[in-house]
């Protein structure tokens, strides 16, 4: 190390003197006590003049105190002199009254308001040297850095945790929970009053890491003045009476007014503050300027999270109402029919899609039932299913013959799609079920280009019902297939959308499920109740898909159960398990 290096380390506070002023001082203090032999041997300086080592050493950032074998101070460098004025050459070091310089182990101690480190190095002849350094600045810099790191880490956690809860109540609870214990021992969030009532959440510190959270509602007029001010966007500065107000209102359990510090910050919203955050803790940790900055940064994030959540709530309320009107309605109860349904839209978060099913009761005791699929996916497709179902709801009162009803629907849809220029169309099966006295059903079905229904016979046979026809909503007067099927008691008819047969899965995830696998899956299921059968089709399809993407899936099963609603049990012929391999399904 050279003198210029030392100067490079100068913290710039002027406390380390420049060479020109120290040279004389140093020499006068210890000229006799600087035997060259006492210093560690140094490599000879090549070429240049022999430097004056004592002079070089004087400029070390560390001050030097050299004691002889008896513990008498023999040399004090100017830096050491300034740091430890009590240490005087010629006297015992122990007499100087600096206890940290005792047994020789390295220490950090506070002396005359400065933070010092000292280490002892033995020299030859049983002498020793103390190296003393002033670390006040670097220690405070390190402390500041650690504090800043803690603040950044806290804000990062806050950003992480507050970004996700989109429910306003969850977001509010998360805000107060996050504020404890980093910002407060008690944190209270008051949301801007709606209809004169203000909701609040409070987190209080407990013995362990998890704070206790409670919440409630207050009339807006009962809010303490500081909170009411905060809600107008003003950050109250008179902090003293703030604590009193909060304690008087009973808001700060476990804290008393005399020994607490509190702060109130508004949480920025869309125009006015979305709420106000009150933080309080024992005044052993006062809120300094850095703390207040941190609370404001926290409040900004909390305000953004709450605003987003409130915005989401408003939007989701609208979306939910619309979605509810577009969800398939469960078939209405009808004499002699047991319904089973399954519905799984392609976009799970949306809950609606382009598949639809439903039923309406007819005046003569029968029921109209239908299942279909409109072109396209997502919201637009769902809106079209809504139009289609409304058309059917009106038209089935005028016409109960399935073929003619389907043609009427076709004309109505054609008009709608042409008017809107949508070019949408649907495939569907539409039928009428009429119960018989013996518990059976007659199904008259009309087909509009949809997949053929399956019938599960009591014998265990699975029939595919041949039902052709053209797409609905494309051309006027389409060709419509018609068929009549008789179900004996306990027999079931199954309608499904192409989301089932066109599900892609298997070994590579690209093989279609196909109609054959569907037939295999429902073979042996003739004694199943209709809801269980519909769920089985849904399950087998989803198992086939793995976790892959899929189209909308809809299933409608009708089982003839007789007027009592009880399927006769004697028809349940249970086939023996066909073969080991076929039964090896892991769905116990």
């Amino acid at each position: 190390m050279t003198a210029s290096d030392v100067r490079g380390f100068d913290p710039g506070d002027g406390r380390i003197s420049t060479p020109s002023t120290t040279r004389a001082l140093a020499r006068s203090a210890d000229a006799s006590l600087r035997p060259a032999a006492a210093l560690p041997p140094l490599a000879p300086d090549r070429g240049g003049a022999e430097p004056d080592w004592s002079e070089v050493v004087e400029h070390f950032r560390e001050g030097l105190v050299v004691c002889d074998a008896a513990g008498v101070v023999r040399h004090v460098s100017p830096v050491a002199e300034r740091l430890l004025p009590e240490v005087v050459p010629g006297e015992l070091l122990t007499a100087a009254g600096v206890p940290a310089l005792g047994d020789g182990s390295p220490v950090t101690f506070t002396h005359r308001g400065r933070q010092l480190t000292a280490r002892q190095v033995p020299l030859s002849g049983a002498r020793c040297c103390w190296y003393v350094e002033d670390v006040t600045e670097s220690a405070s810099r390190a402390d500041a850095l650690l504090a800043e790191r803690a603040r950044s880490a806290f804000l990062a956690v806050v950003g992480d945790k507050l970004g996700n809860p989109l429910h306003p109540d969850r977001a509010a609870a998360a805000v107060v929970r996050l504020a404890v214990p980093s910002l407060a021992e008690v944190a209270v969030l008051v949301l801007a009053p709606r209809a004169g009532r203000a909701r609040w959440w409070r987190a209080s510190r407990c013995d362990d890491e998890t704070p206790l959270v409670d919440s409630g509602v207050l009339p807006g007029v009962d809010l303490p003045a500081a909170i009411a001010d905060g809600l107008t966007g003003v950050e109250p500065h008179a902090v003293d009476w703030l604590v009193e107000q909060a304690v008087d209102a009973g808001w700060l359990p476990g804290l008393s007014g005399a020994e607490s510090a509190a702060r109130v910050v508004p949480l920025p919203g869309r125009d006015a503050p979305v709420g106000v955050l009150l933080v309080a803790r024992r005044n052993t940790r006062w809120y300094d300027e850095d703390d207040v900055q941190l609370i404001r940064a926290f409040a900004a994030r909390a305000g953004a999270a709450l605003t987003t959540a409130l915005l989401y709530r408003d939007q989701a309320e609208v979306a939910d109402t619309l979605q509810a009107s577009l969800l398939p309605v469960e078939p209405v109860e009808a004499a002699g029919v047991e319904w089973g349904t399954a519905y799984r839209p392609a976009q799970a978060g949306l809950r609606i899609g382009g598949d639809f099913y439903g039923s309406h009761r007819l005046a003569d005791g029968g029921s109209v039932f239908f299942l279909g699929d409109v072109s396209g996916k997502g919201v637009e497709a769902a809106v079209f299913t809504g139009q289609l179902r409304q058309c059917l709801q009106a038209l089935h009162r005028l016409e109960s013959h399935p073929g003619r009803l389907l043609r009427l629907l076709n004309d109505a849809l054609l008009e709608t799609t042409q008017a809107h220029g949508q070019g949408r169309f649907a495939t569907m099966v539409l039928g009428v079920a009429r119960p018989h006295r013996d518990g059976g059903l007659t199904l008259t079905m009309a087909g509009g280009g949809h997949l053929p229904p399956l019938v599960l016979r009591a014998s265990g046979e699975v029939e595919s019902v041949s039902l052709r026809g053209m797409l609905i909503g494309v051309v006027p007067d389409p060709r419509v297939g018609e068929v009549t099927v008789r179900l004996a008691p306990g027999e079931t008819c199954l309608l499904y959308s192409d989301g089932v047969t066109e599900a892609r899965g298997g070994r590579r995830g690209d093989e279609q499920f196909g109609p054959e696998r569907l037939v295999t899956a429902v073979t042996g299921c003739q004694r199943m109740p209709a809801p269980a059968l519909a769920e089985r089709v849904e399950q087998v399809t989803c198992d086939w898909l793995g976790h892959g993407d899929h189209d909308d899936i809809a299933v409608l099963a009708l089982r003839a159960v007789g007027p009592s609603g009880r399927a006769p049990r004697h028809l349940h012929s249970v086939p023996e398990p066909v073969g080991a391999e076929q039964q090896r399904e892991t769905d116990a």
Partner: protein, 349 residues
């Protein structure tokens, strides 16, 4: 069939109830349950001491190949109707917050969580039961829409654990505490601990946990640092390739496999896939005993269907060969093969 007699105790009614399930007689089964309620048996006991053990027996009968999948589905459906009838009969007024109960994505065993849902409802919670195989996106949008005090998630098969973890994390991000249950987390819940989720061994335990929000939030973080070795991710990437090669191997060594019907082939491919999925789950939670337990179970299922343990061992041997560079997978496969050889020697005796 036996006519339902009015028993005053769920254990006395059990036989008759099981007969109702055997006969797929929904109405008789409901009568048995309602008769117990009328005799003053608390609804929670009817659910946990009658419906739950009967459903466990249904699963056992399927495993022993006494019942077809269709019979099992029908019986499960009836149990669900019984649960609905018991709940309607009890008609508890909700006093607590909302609790959402759901099956993990891909999980179809809806009855156990349904029982948990009803026990929570009986204890005054406002319960929403989302049903079987709930997609994570659906659950999350539900949580964003409706403030939930807690979410209870069920998983019956350990092979769904990686998906379960994703779902638990999704709920966490919505700041809703999660309690998990079901055999899928291990009989002692040890895999729930690995995933950093609070676990309840039973419906009453779940109800107690849900009532203690701070306990729900006080869970140790997930311990999944072992995923850094990339074995799990590589295995999932190679899933299709592994199944293909295992199938080719099977066809080469078992001539009968060359003449499988489409249905047999699908079942075989599905089994080969399950082995990979269980192995992947074992890697995910870093517990080879998960895989060994699965092999033990699989050997039981196969032997009840007349398939020798050696058949399963062929595939394990093949996977062990292909995956020899995956130390954790290789160890799990070795434990699995110990199960097949133990079963083989049991059968030989």
């Amino acid at each position: 069939m036996s006519a339902p007699t009015a028993a005053a105790d769920p254990t006395d009614a059990y036989r008759g109830y099981l007969d109702c399930l055997t006969d797929a007689d929904e109405y008789a089964a409901i009568d048995v349950a309602l008769a117990l309620l009328d005799a003053g048996v608390p609804a929670e006991r009817v659910l946990l001491d009658l419906v739950a053990p009967a459903q466990a027996e249904v699963g056992e009968r399927w495993a022993r190949n006494e019942w077809s999948v269709a019979q099992e589905h029908a019986a499960t459906h009836i149990s669900e109707r019984v649960v609905a009838a018991v709940a309607a009969h009890a008609n508890t007024r909700p006093t607590g917050g909302r609790v959402v109960v759901a099956c993990m994505d891909g999980e179809w065993h809806a009855l156990p969580p349904r029982l948990v849902a009803e026990v929570l409802r009986l204890r005054g919670w406002q319960v929403t039961f989302l049903g079987a195989s709930v997609p994570a996106a659906h659950l999350v949008s539900y949580l964003h829409r409706h403030d939930a005090h807690a979410v209870a998630l069920a998983c019956a098969l350990p092979m769904r654990l990686p998906h379960a973890h994703r779902m638990i994390e999704a709920c966490r991000r919505s700041d809703v505490p999660v309690v998990v249950g079901g055999r899928g987390f291990g009989t002692d819940g040890r895999w729930a601990a690995k995933l950093g989720a609070a676990w309840a061994p039973s419906a009453p335990a779940a109800a107690e946990l849900v009532a203690d929000e701070r306990a729900l939030r006080r869970v140790a973080p997930a311990q999944l640092s072992h995923l850094a070795d990339d074995e799990y991710a590589s295995l999932i990437r190679r899933r299709g390739e592994l199944i293909d090669s295992a199938l080719a191997d099977l066809r080469e060594r078992v001539p009968a496999a060359r003449d499988y019907t489409v249905a047999q082939l699908d079942a075989t491919v599905s089994d080969l896939g399950h082995i990979v999925d269980f192995l992947a789950a074992a890697l995910y939670v870093d517990d080879p005993s998960l895989f060994a337990e699965f092999v033990e179970w699989l050997v039981g299922i196969l032997s009840s269907r007349g398939v020798p343990a050696a058949a399963a061992d062929l595939t394990l041997e093949h996977y062990a060969g292909v995956l020899r560079d995956f130390p954790r997978a290789a160890y799990a496969l070795a434990l699995g093969r110990a199960e097949t050889s133990a079963a083989g020697s049991r059968a030989a005796r």
